[in-house]
């Protein structure tokens, strides 16, 4: 069953918190992974790998560079699961 935007955001926030220690409440749609959340490229790949498993989607490597904000990632995952 497809996850809603809020479910994806909440799930992503859990992954970000687990991998980087950033508080879940700080993981908001408008936040930039690099500029606001200080997530480096390897941590970003860890988040991608975990998100793929959690939401049963595939996030191609060439897409990852387009996921600048949390909202970008939520939107991509929402679209990819359909």
């Amino acid at each position: 069953m497809a996850h809603t935007e809020n479910e994806i955001l909440a799930g992503l926030a859990e992954i970000v918190n687990e991998e980087t220690g950033v508080a879940t409440e700080d993981v908001k749609l408008e936040k930039s992974f690099t500029d606001d959340l200080d997530i480096d490229s390897i941590s970003m790949m860890t988040i991608v790998v975990n998100a793929e498993e959690k939401f049963d989607v595939r996030i191609p490597d060439e897409e990852v560079k387009n996921l600048a904000t949390v909202g970008d990632a939520v939107k991509f995952i929402e679209g990819a699961q359909n």
Partner: protein
């Protein structure tokens, strides 16, 4: 530029190991003569057919200070080293030092073997895409040194000697060199190992290196006992803060002891069998490097792994290096309590050597029921030994597969 004879002070200590979660608890347990070898509380023996199902595992709670995200980016070997390094750095008073004059030398015999094997399991069972992107920075042998250098902002150089069971002592020796050569004022040195894994246990068991005393693991590590039958695997890290005497004095640092001499030799002999000539050469060099005479050595923290040939062979090599002048010294093998930390062993035992010089107390060798009559020196058999008044020099040996011989001399003043 400091002269080659710049004295190297030890101003900070840190460790996590089977005896304790820090230096204080470790020393207390060591003086109490505590055995840490236990049967595994898992199904490895039944599941994999291991012939040896015990080891000296890290003290529970030793890693509690690491945050979860921190722990996830470090192999256990890196976690041990990081916790020990933080303790050592705080113990030294977090010295203010020019980052370009601060170095790190932390060795490991194997590196991130848990990460390596876990991620291979991931590839086989779940496919390549699921491999942890942090795998490479976690498994590399230099991971501990690199992460500690980043933690402390150390930019004078971060190095990782890999010389099997001599790695930790080689790190101490190379760190001394960084200060003497004028490359650094402060160097964080040590060694780490986290290799109690069914594959590693099987591999060591298959070369008959491990004790097979499965019915009585607590008494399995018994250096100098007639019935010793191999070593017991241990794990953990030992870290020391080395500092030029001048730098330590300028900031009024507490000095535990001095890293006064080092000797490094290689056997060029056999991949696993020790060669007493190489061992004696390292010991001789270390004592000479410290500017001492044989009679100055009051205590030896021996490599003493509890193997039938190695224990006595080492002491004979020491005796040879000292020209037979050994009546004044007392030997111990703290591996009787901690097991063998492999690449962490020499570093933890340098910590013990520093504490012995500082507190003038030799921790015991436990589990000797029948002292091997071939033992050529006094052993701290079963109880701590207080060293007599006067200057104390301690010799610490570490030898590794491949014929790596390292000796370090620590002095009380």
């Amino acid at each position: 530029m400091p002269s080659p004879r710049t004295r190297v002070a030890v101003t900070g200590l840190g460790t996590v190991n089977p005896l304790g979660v820090d230096v204080a608890s470790t020393w207390e347990s060591a003086l109490a003569g505590t055995s840490t070898a236990r049967t595994f509380e898992n199904d490895w023996k039944e599941r994999y057919g291991l012939s040896v199902d015990f080891a000296c595992q890290l003290t529970p709670g030793a890693l509690d200070s690491l945050s979860r995200p921190e722990a996830k980016k470090l192999d256990p070997s890196g976690q041990y080293a990081m916790v020990a390094a933080r303790e050592a750095w705080a113990d030294a008073g977090a010295p203010e030092v020019d980052p370009t004059r601060l170095g790190v030398v932390v060795g490991s015999g194997i590196g991130g073997i848990w990460t390596t094997l876990d991620q291979w399991d991931v590839v086989r069972e779940r496919g390549a895409r699921r491999v942890n992107p942090f795998t490479v920075p976690m498994l590399m042998a230099n991971s501990a040194a690199a992460n500690i250098s980043m933690e402390l902002g150390a930019r004078a150089g971060a190095h990782t000697p890999v010389s099997a069971c001599a790695s930790g002592s080689e790190a101490v020796a190379l760190g001394m060199g960084m200060i003497r050569d004028g490359r650094a004022d402060v160097v964080v040195v040590g060694g780490t190992e986290a290799s109690i894994h069914p594959m590693t246990v099987a591999a060591f068991a298959n070369i008959r290196a491990l004790s097979t005393r499965v019915d009585d693991p607590e008494h399995a590590s018994r250096p100098y006992d007639v019935d010793r039958d191999g070593f017991v695997l241990g794990e953990g890290a030992g870290i020391l803060v080395l500092e030029s005497e001048e730098h330590a004095a300028a900031r009024g640092a507490r000095v535990y002891a001095y890293a006064a001499g080092r000797g490094m030799a290689s056997d060029a002999y056999h991949i696993s069998a020790p060669n007493p000539e190489g061992q004696a050469a390292a010991v001789r060099e270390a004592i000479e490097d410290a500017g001492l005479m044989a009679e100055d050595i009051k205590h030896v923290n021996a490599h003493g792994t509890s193997t039938p040939l190695g224990d006595i062979g080492e002491l004979r090599a020491v005796s040879d290096a000292l020209g037979g002048v050994t009546d004044q010294l007392v030997v111990t093998s703290t591996k009787s309590m901690t097991g063998h930390l492999l690449g962490g062993a020499g570093a933890l035992e340098t910590v013990f050597s520093v504490l012995a010089a500082h507190h003038r107390t030799v921790p015991p060798t436990i589990n000797i029921e029948n002292l091997d009559p071939e033992t050529p020196m006094e052993i701290a058999n079963g109880a701590p030994v207080t060293l007599a008044d006067g200057d104390v020099a301690v010799l610490n040996n570490a030898f590794g597969f491949g014929g790596h011989d390292i000796a370090v001399v620590v002095t009380s003043s």
